[in-house]
Symmetry: C2
Subunit: 340 residues, 2 copies
DNA sequence: GTCAAGTGGGAGAGCGCTCTTACCCAAGCC
DNA sequence: GGCTTGGGTAAGAGCGCTCTCCCACTTGAC
C-alpha cells in the first residue's frame, strides 16, 4: 500500500508538498503539482483514512441513526417498525447518494432503548463520526437531547415535538391536508370525513388541521373525524367507526397510506365502491399504494429530496466545524391515482 | 478527551500496561489490572478508533453493500428497487444487531453502476472496511468478482449464479416450493398451477422446481406454468395467462408476494373468490401480504436469521485474518393466512 | 542596490495507539 | 549462593498523515 512518503520519493519532493497537492490546501507551483499528480497516479496512492483522521479529528463518516420505541418481540422480528418500512430505504439511499460525492460514508446505527441510545451518544461524543442524521418515529425521542449534548452537528427528519435548537427538515403537513381537501371537493364530494393519525403526533395533527381548515374555508364547518394509530387494522376499525358516525360520507382523507388500505378494505366489505361511492386519499405515497386496486391517490412527501437536504445541511455544519440550527420545509404533492 | 497516556498517569503505570488491560492481550497482575480499570473509569477513557486502526490495520467497520442493476430514472426516485423493499431494512437491521456486540459498525454503500462498483472495490481494497456483506439483486453481479479480488472477507446473501469461491447464506428455495405444493394439496386442490419468477434467476427456478417435483411425486405430471418478473403488474398479467391456459386451476403458487398480490387482483377481477375458488400462496412474507384482504399465505425466508449468520461468518473470517469459503442454507417456513 | 514583503517548499513534531524489545525481580534449581 | 527461568512492566519505535514553523528565493519599491 503506497504512502505519502512513497509518492514524495517518486515525485522528488517532500511529504508536505504531496499532502498539499492532494488536499489542495495551499498554493503549489503548477509544475510541481503536475509532477506530484503523476507520481500519485504512478504509485496508485490513496490517502489512509485512519492516519488522516488521527490528525484532523475528522472521520469522513456520519452516523445515520434509526431510532424509535423499542420493538415488540412479535414473531421473530425484533426490529423497530421503521426499518421494515420502504420509507427507510428511500431515505437511506438518498443519504448515500448525497454523501458520496464528498467522500463521506454513512454508518448505520439503531437506537431503540436506553442502552443503545447511550452507545450511539458515546460513539458520537468520542468523535467516531463527524455528525448525525437522525430518523426517528418518536417526535420527542430522548436521543435528540443526547445528540445535542455531544456537540456534534445533527439534523433530524421531522420537527421535534418540543422546541429544541436543532436542525431539521420536514414536509408541510398542513398543506398536505389542504391538497387532500381540495381534491375531494374538486371531485364533487359533499360529505368529506377524515381518519387521522394519533393526535399526539404533531405531523398527524397538522395534516388534520390543514384538511379541516381548507374545508372550513369552503363552508364545511363540521367534518366527521375519527382517530387511528397508523396501522392497517386501525384503518379498518376507524373507517368502520366513521361510517357509523356519518353514513353519508363520500370522501375520506386518511392520515397515512397503510391506514388508507385498511379503510378501503372496510369500505369494500360494507359494499361501498371506491372511488365512486367514497373517494379515499392517503398520505406518504408508500409503495403499498400501487400494490392494490384501486391504486391509491395520496399526498407525497418528497422523501428523497428531504433526505438529500439533510445531508447537505449536515455537511455544511461539519465543514463549518460547529452545529448550526436551520430548517427546510418541503411542499408535498398530490399524486392522483384511482381512489380519488 | 482522555488518552492512554492520561490513564497511565492516573494509574501510575505505563501506556503499554494500560493497553494490555484494555485489550486483554497479555497477562497483567490482578492488582495492577484493578488499578488500571479504576483509572479508566475515573478518566472516562475510550480508545481512539483512528489511532488503533492506524496500527492494527483493522477498522472495526464492515461494508454493507447494496448492489443491483442501475435503476430506471422513473419519477423522481433514483434508487435500486431493493432499497425501497422492506426486505432491505430487515436485513440491515439484523446486521446492525449482530455486529454491535462486537463493536463493529456497518458502513452502507450502494453500487449500481460501474463507477460506484469501482469505488466500493477501492474502499475495501484500501482497508477502509474489514470485510463486506453483499446484498445483490443480480445473481451474477460483477461486483462479486471485484470484491473477491480485494482479498477482503466477503459474504453474500443468496448463492451466486456461477460457481465462485465465496461465502454465502441462502434459503432452501426448492423446499419452499415443496411447502407450497403440499399446502395446496392438503387443502384439496385438484388443479394446481404456478406463476414463477424470471427463470434466469436461480432462486426463482429452484422455487418452481421444488414445487413441480413435489406435485409430480403426488401424481401431477403436468403443472400449467407461466412466468412473471416479480412485479405487481407482471403478476396480474401472468395470472390472466394462467387462467386462459388452465381455466380450471384451483390453486396457485406465485414466485413472490408482490406478484401474488397482482394475481389475486386478477382473480378478483375475473370473479374467482380467493381462497374458495382459487387458493394463492406467495413467497417472501413481505409486509404487503398483511396489508390486504385476504391476507396472504406465503413461504417465509428467515431473513433476520440469515443476515445474522452472514454477520457471524464475516466476523469469523475477519478474526481469522483471511477470507474463507463457507455457506449456510436456511429452511423456509409456511406462514398460513387466509389466501390458502 | 538594498530591504521589506510575499511566495513556495522542507523539516519535524506530533495525533493516540500497539507491539516488540529489553529489563527487572522473584522463584526455582543445582 | 550463583545461576537460570519466566512472568510482568517500561521504554520507545513506529503506523501515515497534517500542519506549523522556518528557510530560501523572488519580487517590487525606494
Amino acid at each position: 500500500m503506497p504512502t505519502l512518503e512513497d509518492v514524495a520519493r517518486v515525485a522528488g519532493v517532500s511529504r508536505a508538498t504531496v499532502s498539499r497537492v492532494v488536499n489542495g490546501k495551499r498554493k503549489v507551483a503548477p509544475a510541481v503539482q503536475v509532477t506530484v499528480l503523476e507520481a500519485v497516479a504512478a504509485t496508485g496512492y490513496v490517502p489512509n483514512r485512519a492516519a488522516r483522521s488521527l490528525v484532523t479529528r475528522r472521520t469522513g463518516t456520519v452516523a445515520v441513526i434509526v431510532s424509535g420505541a423499542e420493538p415488540e418481540p412479535e414473531d421473530d422480528l425484533y426490529l423497530p417498525g421503521i426499518l421494515a418500512d420502504p420509507f427507510f430505504g428511500r431515505v437511506v439511499g438518498s443519504f448515500v447518494r448525497s454523501l458520496r460525492p464528498h467522500d463521506v460514508h454513512p454508518v448505520l446505527m439503531v437506537a431503540d432503548n436506553d442502552e443503545t441510545r447511550r452507545q450511539v451518544e458515546s460513539y458520537l461524543r468520542f468523535g467516531n463520526a463527524d455528525g448525525a442524521l437522525l430518523v426517528t418515529t418518536d417526535a420527542d425521542d430522548p436521543l435528540i437531547e443526547q445528540l445535542m449534548a455531544t456537540g456534534r452537528p445533527t439534523v433530524l427528519f421531522a420537527r421535534p415535538a418540543h422546541p429544541i435548537p436543532v436542525s431539521y427538515v420536514d414536509v408541510a403537513n398542513a398543506d398536505g391536508g389542504r391538497l387532500a381537501a381540495e381534491r375531494l371537493l374538486e371531485r364533487g364530494c359533499r360529505h368529506p370525513g377524515v381518519v387521522s393519525g394519533p393526535l399526539g403526533v404533531p405531523a398527524a395533527r397538522s395534516r388534520l388541521d390543514g384538511y379541516c381548515d381548507a374545508l372550513a374555508r369552503r363552508g364545511h364547518a363540521y367534518v366527521p373525524q375519527v382517530e387511528g394509530n397508523f396501522t392497517f387494522e386501525s384503518g379498518e376499525a376507524a373507517m368502520a367507526r366513521l361510517l357509523d358516525l356519518a353514513p353519508d360520507v363520500d370522501g375520506v382523507f386518511v392520515g397515512n397510506d397503510v391506514m388508507a388500505q385498511g379503510a378501503i378494505q372496510t369500505l369494500r366489505a360494507r359494499g361501498r365502491a371506491v372511488p365512486d361511492d367514497v373517494a379515499v386519499i392517503g398520505f406518504d405515497d408508500s409503495s403499498v399504494g400501487t400494490l392494490s386496486r384501486p391504486t391509491l391517490t395520496t399526498v407525497r412527501q418528497p422523501v428523497e429530496e428531504m433526505a438529500a437536504e439533510m445531508a447537505r445541511m449536515l455537511l455544511e455544519q461539519v465543514d463549518a466545524g460547529e452545529p448550526a440550527v436551520t430548517s427546510a420545509i418541503f411542499e408535498p404533492r398530490l399524486v392522483v391515482r384511482e381512489s380519488a
